[in-house]
Symmetry: C2
Subunit: 373 residues, 2 copies
């Protein structure tokens, strides 16, 4: 293997000079640069990143921890994350817990051992209150709280829930069913922080895990005296559950006239409705919550409350880079916002959701206004 010293010898210079031209850091006279470059070409020199990594104590690898990459939601998010990371010169290590049947702690260990520069935590895990903060390495959380000073980014589910609920209110829904994730996740999310479930403010910071969506949705509907039911999905990783849930929703609540559900479940609901001879959106209105490509697979184009995947990814990566020692965020961010340099240092950041019109809900005049929000 040809190393830097070989190149140096070939070019008749020292290794440090070679290093400089390889990394384009300090100033090297054009003549020298030329000679070194020629030597590198001649010897077919390829820099060794292992060595560079050890020197700079960095990997340029970020772990993305999610339940399963097979789920379209996480696949979409991961795709956006990969792009956002790449724009910062970072590579993506895929760390799905369910696909490998492995605990999150294995990935955290890699972080500790410096096999990764940081992790983006988007999977469910129950740990003592100080577990995450005690790691003391770059971590950001997606759609959840990991405690104290660990930054987190997520969609503004409070707003999303309200959006969905108001759409149903304005289109005259009377009997609404919500299909959602495990309630235990909500419990632990709030419980570990010793906050009552009803409270949606933690440590003075906005709170965004799905519970907010749930609460905002429920609250808005009940205020209008619309009947409302919650149906729980056990595991996000088992996709068959979505199908069962769709079936059960109609079985248990034959008189339902409106459903909001994660888009995979929403797609199944649409099929179930049609199978039962109930028209969409005449008899049953459906809102897909999330808005991946799946919402187009249902037969009808599903109206959806969609998450801004690119926005989420950008925010997550920006936050992560901020906590990686000696790393600066590249591109539009804090720098060009005068005075905003240290502005958004709140530990959590909310990315707003939007309404994507489809054919699965009615569109009265008063609904149009929701779209422009």
């Amino acid at each position: 293997m040809v190393g830097m010293r070989d190149v140096a010898r070939e070019a008749g210079v020292s290794t440090s000079t070679v290093s400089l031209v390889v990394n384009g850091n300090g100033y090297v006279s054009p003549a020298m640069a030329e000679r070194v470059q020629a030597a590198m070409d001649r010897l077919n020199y390829v820099p060794n990143e292992l060595a560079r990594n050890l020197s700079r104590n960095r990997t340029n690898l970020v772990g993305v921890i999610i339940p399963t990459i097979r789920h379209p939601f996480f696949a979409t998010l991961t795709a956006s994350l990969q792009r956002a990371l790449y724009e910062q010169g970072l590579r993506t290590a895929l760390c799905s817990t369910a696909d490998v049947d492995q605990d999150v702690s294995q990935y955290v260990d890699m972080l500790r051992r410096r096999a990764m520069d940081g992790i983006i935590m988007g999977a469910h895990a129950v740990y003592p209150a100080d577990y995450w903060s005690s790691i003391d390495r770059p971590i950001v959380a997606f759609d959840r709280f990991l405690g104290g000073s660990i930054p987190s980014v997520g969609s503004d589910h409070s707003q999303g829930g309200r959006l969905a609920a108001e759409l149903f209110v304005r289109t005259g829904a009377r009997r609404v069913v919500e299909i959602g994730g495990p309630r235990t996740h909500y419990q632990t999310a709030a419980g570990l922080n010793s906050e009552p479930l009803g409270s949606i403010t933690i440590a003075g910071q906005p709170t965004f895990p799905p519970i907010r969506y749930h609460l905002a949705f429920e609250r808005t509907l009940l205020a209008k005296r619309i009947r409302y039911e919650y149906m729980e999905i056990e595991s996000v990783a088992r996709m068959e559950e979505f199908k069962d849930a769709a079936h059960l929703a109609f079985e248990r609540h034959p008189d339902l006239d409106a459903i909001v559900a994660p888009d995979l479940a929403a797609a199944f609901c649409a099929q179930e409705a049609l199978r039962r001879g109930r028209s969409i959106p005449g008899d049953v209105q459906i809102i897909a919550y999330d808005g991946t490509y799946v919402s187009d697979l249902a037969g009808v184009r599903l109206t959806s409350v969609l998450q801004d995947f690119d926005g989420l990814a950008n925010a997550l990566v920006r936050r992560l880079v901020q906590v990686i020692p000696g790393k600066a965020y590249q591109g539009a961010g804090a720098a060009d916002q005068p005075g905003a340099g240290e502005g958004d240092q709140a530990v959590s950041e909310l990315i707003s959701m939007s309404l994507k019109p489809g054919e699965s809900t009615r569109w009265t005049g008063s609904v149009q206004e929701l779209l422009s929000r």
Copy 2:
């Protein structure tokens, strides 16, 4: 940061002893091991993998190159790969080309610079004939040929195509439409190897890229004088195309009575058929080719010719590990097959496909036999 020498000093031993207990390699007296362990705990020692990597010239990272992780097919494959890799102590670097809008060569560079121990190449790319072999680092190809001695693994599409065709033959299909990937991929796959398109043997090795499926399918049908059309999808990365293709299939061939298509396209076809008031499988039979969870989203459970994702992943990873210097495959493999140690050294390996019964095709007596193959 506390390093090995600190631990050594604390335990009153030398660094090499510490190294031995950390890695559990050589023999250390239990007493020593105990003392070292205690020192490590006391000092909260965490080994630094960057240093270990440099020493051993290894990353334990494998790049999985695919077009896009958003596509359910590649998501499913990637999930299986991640598991298979993890079982060999390897981590997964996600390298999708379309999601990042980046050339494959960037990832190959990482491989060259030793940022990864190897790559699994599952994306389309056009390079000169000797590009891949000249890299001279661990590479295996998925469903394609990269030239000379680079191992490749893929589904036995020849068998898969025959399976689909024979099912249609036996259920009396008369007018069949196949929806498939870009023909240019076929062309280059064969073209670069200077092989006529009709030939499906390259360098005496079995050939498996999708062209085989295509050819086997076509051949079987034409032998029975069944009318047959091919519809091309331009880009695998743009999922809307599947929807358009489904629409076009019915538009261009109103008299079709059987379709085989990648499962996303097949799902759309099912919806399109139902929308046009054509019953499934009465008027139109549909076979989903691939068999990810998507084939269950169509409303009817789609009959599918499915790829053995775990089998593919295991084979890919086994082959890759074989070409990683100084690395041995863990678990069931060559070792316990007496005499098979060096047995399957053919450059390409075919994983067989199977038929998954569904509601989208008819099931006559003579069809049952196909299932047991």
